[in-house]
């Protein structure tokens, strides 16, 4: 049976992980490769490296980070943040990314999804959608959640799929950073509307939140950052918890 995936997000700036991580035995807490290695040992299923600044200097450091991580870790690696063109995507993929995640650029120029999918295959294209509740709707925001668009999350996810997106990374702006749980209603609405996988993001705080989003939220994967930093064994403990709740997960630490 297909496992539900747990995806760790590493927010990086100029080659360093932004949020502090206090793992015992981790020599350089800010080193994304060291953190990725740690998550891999713990059994994480996939990694997302998000360049939170996406300046020119940061992007050069990003390529180095991608190279360092992909040289030794053999799990899927997605890269996002500031990917606005075929050239940006090429730089990330040539460095070793398996997937690129596009957000604002896809909203501004939806044809980019089609062009990237034609060049790299749909499996390499993740369309990230940031959504916020408003009067019973789920409005789509661009530019890191700062600008509301005329799009609705369900409609935009369907369009992204039809244009060649291979996965949807769906973040609830309302829940992001709150640790109050994923927005299951949002995730279920989008997941039911498309046949490509939906990765739920925003709001993870407890193990129960993951169980909720995999059941009520119909998510195919769940992404988190800080919750995996709580303890050294958060990923493996979460997987044990999910397995005991009859959620299919990959248990061996490979």
């Amino acid at each position: 049976m297909l496992s539900k995936r747990l995806i760790a997000c590493l927010d990086v700036r100029n080659g360093c992980v932004v949020k502090g991580v206090q793992f015992e035995g981790l020599r350089n807490a800010g080193d994304p490769a060291a953190l990725a290695r740690r998550y891999n040992v713990e059994g994480i299923d996939e990694l997302v490296i998000l360049d939170v600044t996406a300046t020119l200097e940061s992007r050069q450091a990003l390529a180095e980070t991608i190279r360092a991580v992909s040289r030794e870790l053999f799990i899927p690696l997605a890269v996002g943040g500031g990917i606005r063109s075929l050239d940006d995507a090429e730089a990330a993929i040539d460095a070793g990314a398996d997937k690129v995640s596009i957000n604002s650029a896809a909203l501004g120029y939806p044809e980019l999804i089609t062009r990237l999918a034609a060049r790299y295959g749909s499996q390499a294209i993740v369309v990230a959608i940031d959504a916020k509740r408003a009067d019973g709707r789920f409005d789509v925001y661009s530019r890191s959640g700062s600008t509301v668009t005329a799009r609705q999350a369900v409609e935009w996810a369907r369009e992204a799929e039809s244009r060649g997106a291979g996965e949807i990374l769906l973040t609830s702006i309302d829940r992001d950073g709150t640790r109050e749980g994923f927005d299951c209603e949002l995730n279920a609405a989008v997941s039911s509307a498309v046949s490509i996988p939906v990765i739920a993001s925003g709001g993870a705080g407890t193990f129960q939140h993951f169980l909720d989003v995999f059941t009520a939220g119909k998510a195919d994967a769940a992404l988190a950052a800080s919750v995996f930093h709580y303890s050294e064994h958060a990923v493996s403990e979460l997987k044990q918890f999910l397995a005991s709740s009859d959620i299919p997960v990959r248990l061996q630490n490979t």
Binding site: S70, I75, A95, G96, A124, G166, T254
Partner: protein
């Protein structure tokens, strides 16, 4: 020397890195004649079956000649599907046909494409899967899948069971991405490298 055929179907960086970890640096043949010195041939690939049209009659002939010399052939993902006679994804194009059977679209009872980690039900003795535990999970991303034929040494189920690993004397194929399937995947790549170094 192991050849990695680049016919334009996707980025091969990850495959190279995976094999590098498995102890083999791959070369990319520019022309079919460049397969003359190969001990092993890898056909990777992602995307639509129509991309395999780039593997024209000259490539097919060169690969066929190599197999006769005892060279090992390894298809990954779309490369596995190409080992079969054809795929419903593009009926105009024939596969290599070294394995009798076809590839068909997975039924829409579950989400298609099938993306993520799923388990391998190992069905028979396999040199490619030597040291790989039954039930090991591998990373898949595909919408079409191959019939279960006698060559299937592992089967995976997503709505229906399909061939996830095929193996004959000289032909090997995996529907998943071993280069993205953790240490078990790298083990399979290392097994293939070892098989190529023996000329049996």
């Amino acid at each position: 020397m192991i050849a990695l055929i680049d016919y334009g179907a996707g980025n091969l960086t990850s495959v190279r890195k995976g094999f590098s970890a498995a102890g083999a640096e791959l070369y990319t043949p520019r022309l079919p004649v460049d397969l003359a010195g190969a001990d092993g041939i890898i056909v990777p690939g992602v995307g639509h079956f129509s991309a395999t049209a780039a593997l024209d009659s000259e490539w097919r002939m060169a690969i066929g000649d190599a197999l006769e010399r005892g060279v090992k052939l390894f298809g990954i993902c779309l490369g596995l599907q190409w080992l079969f006679e054809g795929s419903d994804e593009d009926e105009e194009i024939s596969g290599l046909g070294v394995i009798a059977g076809r590839c068909r679209r997975l039924p829409p009872t579950l989400k298609v494409p099938h993306v993520g980690w799923n388990s391998l039900e190992i069905r028979g003795p396999s040199r490619l899967l030597a040291g790989v535990e039954p039930g090991t999970q591998a990373y898949f991303t595909h919408s079409y899948a191959a019939d279960i034929t006698p060559e299937a040494v592992a089967v995976t189920t997503h709505a229906i069971p399909f061939a996830s690993v095929v193996e004959t004397d000289r032909v090997f194929g995996v529907q998943f991405h071993p280069e993205k399937s953790g240490t078990a995947g790298v083990r399979m790549l290392r097994n293939f490298v070892t098989l190529c170094s023996r000329n049996d």
